[in-house]
């Protein structure tokens, strides 16, 4: 599990699963119905954890009880969702009924066990793949939620795509601060401002957000972009913006300035940079760091240039689960550099910086 795997996955044969998270009232069911009723010719199986008052318009809905199972390996963050294992196994016995699966979690759900299920259970991993975690954020109430709930912050930090929904309900003056907070918690998610969860489906489905081969496609400037927050609050990309470098990627605010008293955020991003690394130092280091600091790491992503290696090495992680593989080769005119980004809580920045720097050639 903690090994840096080098297997190639045939992701095309696996059924994609999109996870919808978000607080009660953020618009999950509205988005779900939008997905299901659009004329896309695709069939979905929907897994819900609580039948809401609003109906879901779909033939195949499975109701499930959230069951978090700690794995028997002494690690408290190695959790899976037992109910998902059971339901996904059942669904996959009848192939051909659906093209993809959408999982709507409860408002208070922790996204980590959901995501980890796709990496820790061999049967689930064999038949399905986690496509992306989409979090809906209620623009009107998210600030209050962040003060009183850790789950709200976790859901934002964990997401690949953030829908800042009900944007019509807030003043234009409130928006820049709201976006700043979201980007502080999660600098790498795509943020879309929406009203009544209205969004082009290609922004939330078929994202391949956990596919190592495509992990950085959404973020082509991962290596080159600055870590500092440039406060470009005058430009915000809406859902229709095809602006190449989405401005929301340029605000990683990774150099600190984190004040937990402001809006109650406790999650921070640590960005580490280096030139070429020694694989014999880096691989043991990343395994050890995720073993020791795993409970605090919500997500990690990185690109690494190994000395004398023509191919770039890509890693991603959730808590103690780590996945790494060689991806496409460095271009001849490209600067060979390494970058790792940790999103988490209670991370020791100095230690990470110091020990990462020691992996340099």
């Amino acid at each position: 599990m903690n090994d840096v795997a080098t297997q190639n996955k045939q992701s095309d044969e696996k059924v994609p699963v999109t996870v919808l998270t978000g607080y009660l009232g953020a618009g999950k069911t509205t988005l779900l119905n939008r997905i299901l009723t659009q004329d896309h010719g695709r069939k979905y199986a929907v897994i819900v954890n609580e039948f809401g008052e609003i109906g879901i318009d779909n033939d195949l809905i499975v109701d499930s009880d959230e069951e978090i199972y700690e794995m028997n390996n002494g690690c408290v963050c190695c959790t899976v969702r037992g109910d998902l294992i059971r339901i996904l196994q059942g669904l996959m016995k009848r192939k051909g009924r659906f093209d993809a699966i959408i999982l709507e979690t409860t408002g208070l759900a922790d996204p980590a066990p959901v995501a980890q299920t796709f990496f820790m259970d061999e049967d689930v991993q064999a038949k399905t793949r986690l496509d992306a975690v989409v979090a809906l954020v209620d623009a009107k109430h998210v600030m209050a939620r962040l003060v009183d709930s850790r789950e709200a912050e976790d859901q934002i930090a964990f997401a690949d795509v953030l829908l800042l929904n009900k944007i019509d309900l807030i003043d234009n003056q409130e928006k820049p601060e709201l976006l700043r907070i979201l980007k502080k918690i999660n600098p790498h998610a795509m943020i879309h401002e929406t009203t009544r969860a209205e969004i082009s489906l290609d922004q939330i489905l078929q994202r391949n957000a956990f596919d190592l081969a495509r992990i950085l496609d959404d973020d082509p400037k991962f290596l080159s972009k600055p870590d500092h927050d440039h406060h470009h609050h005058d430009h915000q990309c809406g859902p229709d913006c095809d602006h190449d470098s989405h401005v929301h990627h340029d605000h990683s605010n990774a150099q600190g300035n984190l004040d937990p008293s402001v809006h109650g955020t406790t999650i921070e991003t640590i960005s580490l940079r280096a030139g070429e690394l020694d694989p014999n130092k880096f691989l043991p280091w990343i395994e050890k760091i995720t073993q020791i600091d795993g409970p605090g790491i919500l997500r990690l992503k990185g690109i690494v240039a190994f000395k004398d290696d023509p191919d770039r090495f890509v890693v991603q992680g959730i808590h103690m689960i780590l996945e790494g593989d060689y991806q496409k080769a460095w271009r001849s005119n490209e600067k060979r550099s390494s970058r790792l980004v940790f999103i988490g809580r209670n991370l020791d920045r100095q230690k990470l910086e110091r020990t990462f720097a020691a992996c340099a050639v």
Binding site: Y69, N72, D83, I87, R94, D121, E122
Partner: protein
Amino acid sequence: MMSTIANLEPGAYTQWAGFLNDIPTFADAKGFIRLVDGKEKSVDIHDGLLCAASDIDGKSLVSGGEDGMICRLYADGSSNIVHQAETKWIDKIATGPAGTIAYGSGRRGKIILKNDDIREINIDRTIEGLAFAPKGMRLAISRYDGIELQWINSDSPNQFLQWKGAHTGVMFSPDGTYVISLMQENALHGWRLRDKKHMQMTGYPSKVSSMSWSHKGKWLGTSGAQAAIIWPFSGKDGPMGKAPRELGGMGKVMVTQVCFHPTAEMLAVGYENGMIMAVRIDDGQIVSLRREGHGTITAMNWDEAGTRLAFGSDEGEAGIITLS
């Protein structure tokens, strides 16, 4: 040896394969049950069949489905709805003596007694597995962090056999001495009921999805490795301190199903590539029963006499192997 092909619809997942009143019967995950008695008979019984178990007398098959129903099918193809109550999937089922049925549907479950009396299963976690004790007076319920034992005819509180981790299946030994669970980790866990002594059976490279007792309970065969892993239970401490036998290794091919012969110490072993072997425990002799096919073997059962083995795969291949 002779094989009869009884393929299901292409791509259909075989949930259960065996014999009802000696008639080869195959149940697929879509909810079709096929009886092969001279001419084939197909019964559409569920909209999605998730679990099935033959009755102790071998005359009927009870099944639970996505439709929240429990059905009973007889060898002549007739069937009836035993119970319809759940809004959630019914995906765990067990049969006991005198037609008793227990089922699980998420965190709810019921015991249906022969006079149609219904008792609730008392549990507050998801029911992951169910098994009746040999005499049918107790029900074992596997869940997160252990096994609960509930009396069928009494309101006394459940006995809890605790062991950390998720227990995804459960089985009693034929004489009721031991309770064995399948775990989410690649392991089995066992308890000797008399003194609740623990038995850890670990070392599997994969999850164990199938286990089967030899007819006298001397051996417990299991899947989850590149050979059948067979634990000795003849000593007073069960398999503790003893190494399991590893038989039927076929290179790197995973064993997915095991089923002990009803009268001989011989184990049918089904593999992920569709192969089936028969392995004799005392001398380790292996006989090939089926070559590689399409899909993974997902179900196997012997007939009462032990001359025929019914099998099915997750790709619709199914059949009967007759030993000569």
